[in-house]
Point group: C2
Chain length 360, copies 2
Amino acid sequence: MIPLSKQIQKSAAGVETDILKNRKPTLQLPVRSLQNVRYDLKKGFFSLGKKRKARTLTVSTVKTFAQTLKMISTSKTLVDTAEIATKREMYYISKNWGEARFLEQDESDTIMDDVEAYFLVNREQLGFIPEEKGGDVAGRLVIKDKDPESGKTLRIDCTKFGSGAYSIPISVEELGFETNAAFILAIETAGMFQRLVKHRFWDKHKCILVSLGGVPTRACRRFIRRLSETCKLPVYAFMDGDPYGYCNIYRTLKVGSGNAAHINEFFCVPQAHFLGVTPQDILDYDLPTHPLKEVDIKRARDALKNDPFIKIHPPWQKALQHMLEMGVRVEQQAFAAHGLNHVLEVYLPQKLKQTGRFLP
Amino acid sequence: MIPLSKQIQKSAAGVETDILKNRKPTLQLPVRSLQNVRYDLKKGFFSLGKKRKARTLTVSTVKTFAQTLKMISTSKTLVDTAEIATKREMYYISKNWGEARFLEQDESDTIMDDVEAYFLVNREQLGFIPEEKGGDVAGRLVIKDKDPESGKTLRIDCTKFGSGAYSIPISVEELGFETNAAFILAIETAGMFQRLVKHRFWDKHKCILVSLGGVPTRACRRFIRRLSETCKLPVYAFMDGDPYGYCNIYRTLKVGSGNAAHINEFFCVPQAHFLGVTPQDILDYDLPTHPLKEVDIKRARDALKNDPFIKIHPPWQKALQHMLEMGVRVEQQAFAAHGLNHVLEVYLPQKLKQTGRFLP
């Protein structure tokens, strides 16, 4: 694969040649929309189709064209100097571009999405990092990172943080991993993560615990993806049992989302399977529930009708229909009704003996 | 000080005695409202006044009274077994209380606030932990924690996390600290934290970096408080320059909030001072700005008129008035307009030479 810095140079050279030869320079950008998305079961994620739109330099596109080139150039500097910039910082950098400066961050973000799709990389590889951190890790994992000053390898042992945890950095592209774990357990709520950490669940069950803290950030998703891929580990998702947990959080974690198909390749986790909480668990474990809200019902029905992921997996259709019939949703914390540690002493161990029955 | 478990026993014994002697049992609870709050400049935080309300067992209070006693009893079990429960788990535990069970978590949370105020502790000391984690740490700090299994002391060196960080656990009551740092830098945005971590700002400037990630969680505030108090370190706050950053995030960090005065004692950080971004910085560093929104103007005017913290500190009144006159707000990321690392190479070092001029 050609290094990114070279790719950037090559595309810039193409534009330059066009200009020198008095031709209108053009950038071919992938169309980023649901109409240009395929769900390939073998690949395991929503991926980008072949549709392209041409951005040609004309009187009406001159500002956008200049901004795109300026951002590509900034990106090259970031890559060459191993520097980073947040989306917000990128917006402020443009304040020195004179007429080409962005007036709102929205403009700047759109161009960044275009640049990302143009080079078919995730923008972290271009040096652009998200604003938010998120995601904590504990358990049988050694993370290999570099000291930014000396370049010496640091070995970060995630079994040694007591009640605390390793906080995933904003960019995880350079991290290495060593582990003797058998699986990764991705947990929706921070409270449940803290309970499993407190009782060293990762030790007895030979695993790595990752706290998503609700909808996982890009960095957290990319971390799980890289870890599961590098170390060939399955990922088991432990989330609230409601249509949002199933069709939004879990679905996005596993196969990605429609309007960001150009990056699903880097962020989705095809190795993920759904441990629970399932509608069947409500019956099997006699869990306290709450009635489905109007929005839950709508979300479940929409997914059954329109979501390519649900439509390809009969077990998910069955689960959603089951939930709609029962008319209730359930939370991870509901196990507390049977004793605070029922979840780690009974539920999780029983479930982990039947991974073959996890939802796809 | 009497151990908490004993205090709980004593208060329960009082109720029992009343009942056995055919007297109506009564619990004296502090009134939790702004009318029962004092701002003591010497203490450094909003504190609770002397007003009490009596909760006496009558026909109409029987359910609330039973719930209060049941929760106090649960808390004793948690304290005695060194166990933890989130607010949501506490709500589910009550599902086994028959008629006394909570129907909504709101009811359960209100009683928890009462119990917390009754014993004049923060609820983490009673074993009740928040749902959310938050707050990352990097720099010159060794955290001492215990392995929950073996009880052995763990030494967690926050200089050894590379691009990552130490994630603050939900409860920090048991942590110990060793440091040779000169101050704690509390940073509003995760992106800015990542930049300072990447360039090992903590090494050159002998400090501990804490990422608040927006409005700091309870655990994060308590962590900063305990760290600054134990190690006698000043806390410098580095935040966006807008009325929300000044009057909400910073004010709450430093002196606490009105409607939670019974716990400010544990959560506020009187050692905090405001490094920036100040309205004067906008002029001194020629920073790009955004116009104040309607809500910003209202918030600043309200604070000038009603906030006891602002009213006691003329430098804050001046700063807010200055901001209102200029009509603009400013973000931490704005320094990027002068180069990505201007903030850590120029702004922060210059500011840190004049800590005496920080806002109170």
